[in-house]
């Protein structure tokens, strides 16, 4: 069973629609008992970082998500919250990826970074299995995680940033797979099938 975390700061409906379309069963929950039972966790996120971190604390999920050993996929803000820190609301994240999330400089590019951009992934990447290199995915972000050793794919918006991150059982994507048409659904099914 897949669990989609509903903590009051995510586009749960769209993620649930995508997983439904793929034909997997899932629950939408913020209950730790349910999350303990789940095989895999999807951690969506939309909105403002410090607001979302507060919702994680309100739901007693902050410590729990740092310690799980099962595969978890953070989406967009979800991925950013898995980093050490975000400049958005100057807030500490889950600290899974040792990175600081920063804002695009408006002197260099339009902010927010909204629309379809290409993703270039490293070889032997489970999330991007059977997806063509430099495929388009839908992004909607003003902040980004810099490129790091844990970066498994990059996207360019004047500067290169992490389109996906991976560490042990933790995965994160900056784009919205649930809104990225056929390729996005493929990323979700790759996570569910292979990660």
């Amino acid at each position: 069973m897949i669990a989609i975390i509903d903590y009051g700061a995510g586009n749960v409906a769209s993620v649930a629609n995508a997983v439904t379309r793929l034909g997997f069963s899932f629950i939408i929950t913020s209950d730790i008992h349910e999350l303990v039972k789940a095989e895999k966790i999807i951690f969506p996120g939309v909105g403002e970082a410090s607001f979302a971190v507060n919702r994680l604390h309100d739901n007693n999920l902050f410590g729990f998500l740092r310690e799980i050993k099962k595969p978890m996929l953070g989406i967009c803000l979800g991925m950013q919250l898995m980093c050490d820190h975000s400049d958005e609301g100057n807030v500490n994240g889950l600290g899974i990826f040792p990175l600081s999330v920063v804002r695009f400089k408006s002197s260099e590019t339009k902010v927010p970074h909204i629309g379809w951009n290409t993703v270039h992934y490293k070889p032997a990447n489970k999330l991007f299995k059977d997806i063509k290199q430099d495929e388009f995915f839908y992004f909607a972000n003003s902040y980004y995680a810099p490129v790091d050793q844990l970066t498994t794919s990059v996207t360019e918006n004047r500067i290169s940033f992490s389109a996906s991150l991976e560490k042990e059982n933790y995965f994160g994507v900056q784009f919205h797979p649930e809104k990225s048409s056929v390729s996005g659904l493929k990323v979700l099914s790759n996570f569910i099938n292979y990660c």
Binding site: N11, V12, A13, S14, N17, A18, T20, R21, V46, G47, E48, F51, L77, S106, K110, V111, P112, H113, I114, G115, W116, N117, T118, F136, Y138, F139, A140, N141, S142, E156, N157, H176, E178, K179, S180, S181, V182, G184, L185
Partner: protein, 251 residues
């Protein structure tokens, strides 16, 4: 690099698509959900739904429609039309819309831009601005273009950016329906004065018009309605044409 976006716009009344729908092979020509699927399969980058229903029941039915659309397509979409407050916005985003477009309500209550972008993220808040030239100046119109305001076009666009809007959907009323091309002079002035993405609307009549707008006005997206609804231009053909002419599009 971000690709340039092509966005069909659908007017919806009582959950049915109205105005110029001439698709063949549709089971139900007025079904917003079915048309959304068609456009999504043709390669539309996102969709805009403008609800023009004028009834008390509107909000409830619109939320239901958004749920149906969100379960049918896996591309982003925006919903607009009569959205007045944070609760309206929350209900639509929760139902699966990615963005809301705000027009008359932010002229009455500009702070709605700030409060909504704080709560839902600026990427979810589109400021829809309708402008018309009156005596050599651009005036902002509200209520579906029926009411002139005291606001000037460019200063209002800069204001919505400052207040926290994530995108501007700029409709030129002078151009709308004329098929004479987008309002490139205003749009290029706009994109050199704001730093958020701009969606051009009003005036599309040919593939060349889209090309000119991307090349000369530096917009991020172009929107059209009847042109696509009547099948005069197919989205696939348009995107192939733009790609051949060195515009970065998702094909």
């Amino acid at each position: 690099m971000l690709s340039k976006r092509i966005i069909p716009c659908l007017d919806v009344k009582n959950n049915r698509v109205v105005k110029g729908i001439n698709f063949i092979n549709l089971r139900d020509a007025g079904s917003a959900v079915e048309l959304a699927e068609v456009y999504s399969n043709e390669g539309a980058d996102e969709l805009v739904f403008l609800d023009i229903t004028a009834s008390i029941e509107k909000r409830k039915t619109l939320v239901e429609l958004v749920k149906d659309i969100a379960s049918a397509i896996q591309i982003p979409f925006t919903v607009g039309g009569g959205i007045r407050n944070l609760k309206d916005i929350e209900n639509l985003l929760k139902a699966g819309a990615d963005k809301v477009s705000l027009n008359s309500s932010i002229v009455t209550d500009p702070q709605l831009i700030t409060s909504s972008s704080k709560q839902f993220g600026s990427q979810a808040i589109v400021a829809a601005i309708d402008i018309k030239q009156i005596n050599n100046s651009y005036k902002v119109f509200v209520k579906g273009g029926t009411e002139e305001t005291a606001l000037e076009g460019l200063p209002w666009c800069k204001k919505v950016e400052e207040l926290g809007a994530g995108e501007i959907l700029l409709t030129s009323m002078d151009k709308d329906g004329t098929k004479s091309g987008f309002d490139i002079p205003f749009l290029s002035l706009l994109t050199s004065n704001v730093n958020i993405p701009v969606i051009a609307s009003g005036g599309a009549g040919s593939m060349q018009h889209f090309l000119d707008c991307f090349n000369n006005a530096n917009v991020d997206a172009c929107l059209a309605a009847t042109l696509f609804h009547f099948g005069e231009i197919k989205i696939k053909e348009l995107k192939n044409y733009l790609q051949q002419n060195k515009i970065h599009v998702r094909v």
